[in-house]
Symmetry: none
Amino acid sequence: MSDKRRTIPSLVKDPKLIEKRREQIVEAAVDLFIHKGFHKTTTREIARASGFSIGTLYEYIESKEDVLYLVCDAIHAEMEGRLREAINFNGTGLSIMKLALKSLIRVMDQMSDRVLLIYQESKSLPKETLRYVLSREEEIAQIFVEILRKGIADGSINIDEKHVKLMADNIMVLAEMWVFRRWALHKHYTLEEFTEKQIALLLREISVSDK
Amino acid sequence: MSDKRRTIPSLVKDPKLIEKRREQIVEAAVDLFIHKGFHKTTTREIARASGFSIGTLYEYIESKEDVLYLVCDAIHAEMEGRLREAINFNGTGLSIMKLALKSLIRVMDQMSDRVLLIYQESKSLPKETLRYVLSREEEIAQIFVEILRKGIADGSINIDEKHVKLMADNIMVLAEMWVFRRWALHKHYTLEEFTEKQIALLLREISVSDK
Amino acid sequence: MSDKRRTIPSLVKDPKLIEKRREQIVEAAVDLFIHKGFHKTTTREIARASGFSIGTLYEYIESKEDVLYLVCDAIHAEMEGRLREAINFNGTGLSIMKLALKSLIRVMDQMSDRVLLIYQESKSLPKETLRYVLSREEEIAQIFVEILRKGIADGSINIDEKHVKLMADNIMVLAEMWVFRRWALHKHYTLEEFTEKQIALLLREISVSDK
Amino acid sequence: MSDKRRTIPSLVKDPKLIEKRREQIVEAAVDLFIHKGFHKTTTREIARASGFSIGTLYEYIESKEDVLYLVCDAIHAEMEGRLREAINFNGTGLSIMKLALKSLIRVMDQMSDRVLLIYQESKSLPKETLRYVLSREEEIAQIFVEILRKGIADGSINIDEKHVKLMADNIMVLAEMWVFRRWALHKHYTLEEFTEKQIALLLREISVSDK
DNA sequence: GATGAATGAGAGTTCATTCAT
DNA sequence: GATGAATGAACTCTCATTCAT
């Protein structure tokens, strides 16, 4: 959570331009990485798809790994953004949770390719950078930690504080599996069936009437 | 399940020798892939660690990807072997399941590095080969499908047939996460705590008294 | 001697400004070339160290090699300046020579890094430019030719006219070696020892009492 | 003198082959470096001129700088070899010296381009390697140190022990200048004139009758 | 007159694969 | 069956130079 975001040096001075060009880079690279993978994508392809020359690409990044980092960070930002946007933090913990779970799975479904990209390629990041990227993942899990705590406080959710963290991780994993096990799931279940069933399982685990 | 195992052609005739050499290759490659990753490991390194020359390596495989395939297959074989060995298929479905879950998580913990290897590198396999490797994963999930069906049949497990497949996938994922989210879990939970909690969650979902 | 000084075209009109900017360039580049060498110094670094942008740099030079030329020329100018300043051209040829030799070695010592720079990097100049730079070196040797001739004329120096040129070159080389063989000399001799000994050797060669 | 020769690792095992290929590399590279300089010669050109592919080149060296090292070392070896071959170490120190000086200058003349190459490019070597290459130069100077000492011992040479090292360096420099100041010397003196004059100067400095 | 973003040819180096021995 | 030297396409990254603003 406290891991600092990596600041990539640029040879270009204008911050507005840096941001704009890096957006172009990310947009181009996401597509390439999804279709060819990080290792099989060349820096020249990234440059060309970004709309400029290889020299220009390297005015905005220092290494190919920087592109991967930018891509991962942008995807996490979008994930968190979409999720927070969809969640209404008013109401009981339980009611918030219901909506949040639904949103989480929907976001996973909508961002399927990009979530998979992070799953498959983030390991190619330099150690330090990987640590930051993983911390971004935890930040999203943290949203569910907070909802759980709110539910515990207002009595709508029943779970031992000690297991809150694990529960949040379970939530993440049982949602993300729609992405990384799609080869197993999509031929047997629709998104709706999957959503309904996973939410049922998760809510049962935290319901107050239980036990 | 019906996906055929890939048969890798070899320039060598003697099947015994092929098997022996490929075992050497796998043993060497697993270590290398775990520590350096598939892409950063060179065929030369694999040959050297296997105890023979680069020329000999290519007598037993056709491409570097073949090595990855052999590795993935060997890991799956070991996983399934260990799991089947640990499970006693006598008793009610529920009692078998309890033991099976515990075994599954223990195997994940013991084979942590190798399971992670499959998670991170199998995407580099050629499409066809990947399909087979994924089918091996499903074969393991299939063990749990069968236990669930047995429990339904003997009345010790309560779950809708339609959701059996999803339940098996959930089991796999909630066990495997000990591996691929270890950065998030290991600092908060011991293996015992994790095991106990995950089993509790999964059993609640299939208990007969429930509902 | 007759080789013409190269005139570097500039996009800027004001000669005063050109001179000022080129002084900045030389000052910055000398340091960079000494520490990193000509090839490992980038034009960007030169521009930055000069205090302006890469675009501005190219308003005052046409190529990176021009910078090297400016640097070599400035160093030669300084060498010659310091030397002429130190020599008093009154007295017998021999007495002038004694002082001149001492001054020459002192200048070599003081300008060690810069003299070495010329030795090591001037070869990277374009052929034509190199010729001019070498002619500047000869101009300095020419000072000693003149002193020798004066000594011959006034009878204080005894040397065959045919060997005057060679003698002047020997003088240059036996002084410059303090720079380009410093790795061999500095650990065995102090500047004073070196100076004394070299002067003794050179004077013996031109003494009248000899033979 | 005690600096250890750098051993360049090779991917090839056969030492005979390594030696043969490195000879090819050196032969090709010497020519290229003489005509284009080290920096303007590409590794591809070296490979092609050596008669094999770029991949093969890198089986025998680790970096382009290694080629420069091999070249410098080969040149020094040849210099020293030729010199030692030409010197007859029988007779008085003085008589040996006369012959040695003549040989030294002749070798400089014959190996002009290669000596100049070391003068101009050795600075591009990595620090450690440069140190070794310079120590090779000193080894050659050491030959003259020994001759001087022999002459002191047998009374044929008169020079203070303290100045023996400097004298040897002066010898090297006054011979090498035929190479690195050829632009100044060749148009005024023949090799014979130069040789005769330099020997005269040096012998006068160490003659017993003197003083 | 000053700026600095853009360019792209070209550099050094790697490594999966082949094939003569 | 084993060897390992040879290959060269392909990679990432650099940097002198230009030119629109």
